[in-house]
Amino acid sequence: MTAPLLEVENLVRTFTLPREHLFRPPPVVNALRGVGFTITPGRSLGLVGESGSGKSTLARLAMALDRPTSGTVRLMGHDLFAQPAAKLRTLRRHMQMIFQDPYGSLDPRQKVARIVAEPLEALTGAPKAEREARVREALASVGLGDTALDRYPHEFSGGQRQRIATARALVTRPDLIVADEPVSALDVSVRAQVLNLLRDLQEKFSVTFLMISHDLAVVDYLCDDIVVLKDGLIVESGASAEILRRPQHPYTRELIAAATKRYS
């Protein structure tokens, strides 16, 4: 039995909205209403659900970018919300994130070398030479050469930008990468390239993904386990193949129908 990589327990997150009426309490949104799951190393987990189901809130909590109303998130046994700031920073090298929009998530005024090195500068005191070697290695692993180093994000296509974002996530050699809709902003003919790249990285660097998508086909392509989220609650979870073959919840069946090939 391997030790769990990420343990999410009974996570609740409510947001208070601006007051609509002077004499009534402000409305609240229950984004997550008690969610729990465990990711073990090497078993990527896919989180599916429609917009408003709480997927992205959960991703932000898993990355400790936000604090829950109640519940815990443990990364390799460490409770993320009980750590002093310095300890949390050293834990962050084990987890990185890839965002949906490869146009908005890369600083347009910085060169690729600096963008990819950024997590290293924030997290480790590694010497310059080692940092540079790590950046080259990360870029090479996503299929980009040294010529990319001195260029700016706008010189790259959407698919290549998502490769740069992936290199930035890989540079700390993380154990867990949280990927929030990593291909939904890409051209259809480029999606397969990025999905295949992510799949190769799983094998080559033994990275485990927490992958978030509204598309069950995308999640199934990379993940061993699937969690289906609806209105802030888990309605179904289990091994991908099992869920596809024997979906229990009507909502899961709808998602499967929506992602099934209607041609061929």
């Binding site: 429609e50 999606r191 509204h214 598309d215 596809l244």
Partner: protein
């Protein structure tokens, strides 16, 4: 054979560029029969939205249009703006991808749906509102009478898309152009909107031009398909034939590259690796004079880059623009 409603011949659109005009549409041909549904599939830069804008007479400033668009027997290319205004929203209506930006955010939806009928059909406000309730009910908006006073922000994405469809239906158009009607919607809502479009085509005898990058969406609603790449139609034919036996290397590649759940996978088979198309879509200035797909094609030869390949028949009603079709199969 149903009567031809719309016939597009050698349609070209050139956009002004820094180094001379850039071809956004490279002389495309297609037709839609009365009551027919054509799915226009393509990714960004393929020219599918440019086709819609050309049909609507809404091309951007400086764009040069040539070729022929015959609609209900009338030539639209070269028609004065006033005549186009009469057609637009009346005989040809369009829905847009993101209803939040296409609908007026500061006007209740009832007024927006009623307005076009007052304008085009001369209805009084009361009659137009009754008709709006009927239309909103038809597109499946719950409690439409009460919803007339709702603002777009109070509706969900799927409901907004339905409102926009109701708005487009107001004048009983002969042709509805739906530009990416499902792209902004959740997977499970997409199917409902496509089913609605299909029903409306059936019951109204309206023709539908369905524009989407989503092959699954087009397969769910269209009877005929045209696949676009770089401003050219590379393959077209009956949907079943094109999806089952794609002939053009781009169409073949696109269908193989799409992550979709295969029936075998649903039965428990392991996941097959996706076949990726190498490279990425160039910008408009990056296409040569020949086949637009040449730079990404595994079967490319010198002749492909010399001149645009003509559409050649592969089966009844199904043709592809590739000079190497004989060597592919």
């Amino acid at each position: 054979m149903a009567e031809v409603l719309l016939s597009v011949r050698n349609l070209r659109v050139d956009l002004p560029g820094p180094g001379g005009p850039l071809p956004a549409l490279r002389g495309i041909d297609f037709e839609i029969a009365r009551g027919g549904t054509l799915g226009l599939v393509g990714e960004s830069g393929s020219g599918k939205s440019m086709t819609a804008l050309a049909l609507m007479g809404l091309l951007p400033e400086g764009a040069k249009l040539s070729g022929s668009i015959r609609f209900e027997g009338r030539e639209l290319v070269g028609l004065p703006e006033s005549a186009l205004c009469d057609l637009r929203g009346n005989r040809i209506a369009m829905t847009f991808q993101e209803p939040m930006t296409a609908l007026n955010p500061v006007q209740p939806i009832g007024r927006q749906v009623a307005e076009s009928m007052m304008l085009h059909r001369g209805f009084s406000r009361a009659v137009a509102e009754d008709e709006a309730v009927r239309l909103l009910d038809r597109v499946g908006l719950p409690d439409p009478r009460r919803r007339l006073a709702s603002y777009p922000y109070q509706l969900s994405g799927g409901q907004r898309q339905r409102v926009m469809i109701a708005l487009a239906l107001g004048c009983a158009p002969a042709l509805l152009i739906a530009d990416e009607p499902t792209t902004a919607l959740d997977a499970t809502i997409q199917g409902q909107v496509l089913a609605l479009l299909r029903e409306l085509v059936e019951e109204r005898g309206m023709a539908l031009l369905l524009i989407s990058h989503d092959l699954n969406a087009v397969a769910a609603a269209a009877t005929d398909v045209a696949v676009m790449y770089g401003g050219a139609i590379v393959e077209r034919g009956p949907a079943t034939s094109v999806f089952r036996a794609p002939a053009h290397p781009y169409a073949k590649g696109l269908i193989a590259a799409l992550p979709a759940l295969e029936p075998e996978r649903l039965a428990g088979a392991p996941r097959a690796r996706l076949q990726a198309i190498p490279g990425s879509v160039p910008d408009l200035a990056g296409f040569g004079p020949g086949c637009t797909f040449a730079d990404r094609c595994a079967w490319v030869i010198g002749a492909c880059r010399a001149a645009p390949p003509p559409l050649v028949p592969v089966s009844p009603g199904h043709s592809a623009a590739c000079i190497r079709l004989g060597d592919l199969s």
